[in-house]
Amino acid sequence: LIMKNNNLRIVGVNEAWGDLGVTAHNLRFTERIEVDETGPVPALTSALHTLLSQKLGSSQVQAVNEFQLSVADSVFINIQDDEPGKTILLSWTHQDEGLGSKLLDIIKSNYKKS
């Protein structure tokens, strides 16, 4: 909602930046989640793909490659081989805090590190 010259207008966030003459500061977070999975990286990527598709709806989750997924085109998940286990890197922006923390909860509750 922008008030300018005594007029009220409702504009999208991206348009509002221009009107206000300021630059958005983009905040991104990445959390590392260590897991005990010992199989190959593509197997964990595929298992995560299945799990998240069940929780969020399959249209939301895309496989980028054998070690990367994206969710709703804005949250990225990278899987790294970290002998003996794996590290899942979950990355999202401040704008996607709700989705990011939800994914974090899902991954943490399904892949606990002993």
Binding site: L20, T23, H25, L27, F29, T30, R32, E34, G57
Partner: protein
């Protein structure tokens, strides 16, 4: 499917540049006193070795990389205090 419960809207829209000095000072006030600051062309990297945290700051963006949710939320709140927002 509980897709509807996901809120896509953040509670604030931060803008402007971040002062690294201000941030380091606020981190210290919060008890995070081991910040190591590296100034590279176009990017500043703050490392909190004891907490396993890396903060990358450039003109219009900041990236926090860590392994602890509580600490991340604390760092986010400190960062938002350093930035203007609406």
């Amino acid at each position: 499917e509980d897709e509807d419960t996901i809120s896509k809207l953040p509670n604030s829209y931060p803008y402007g540049n971040l002062s690294v000095d201000d941030l380091v000072q606020r981190l210290a006030q919060a008890g995070l006193t081991d910040a190591r600051v590296e100034e590279l062309p176009g990017v500043c990297i703050i490392t909190l070795e004891n907490e396993d945290v890396i903060i990358k700051i450039s003109d219009a963006s900041t990236h926090i990389i860590c392994s602890n949710t509580k600490l991340r939320e604390k760092l986010r709140d400190i960062l938002l205090e350093c930035l203007s927002s609406f």
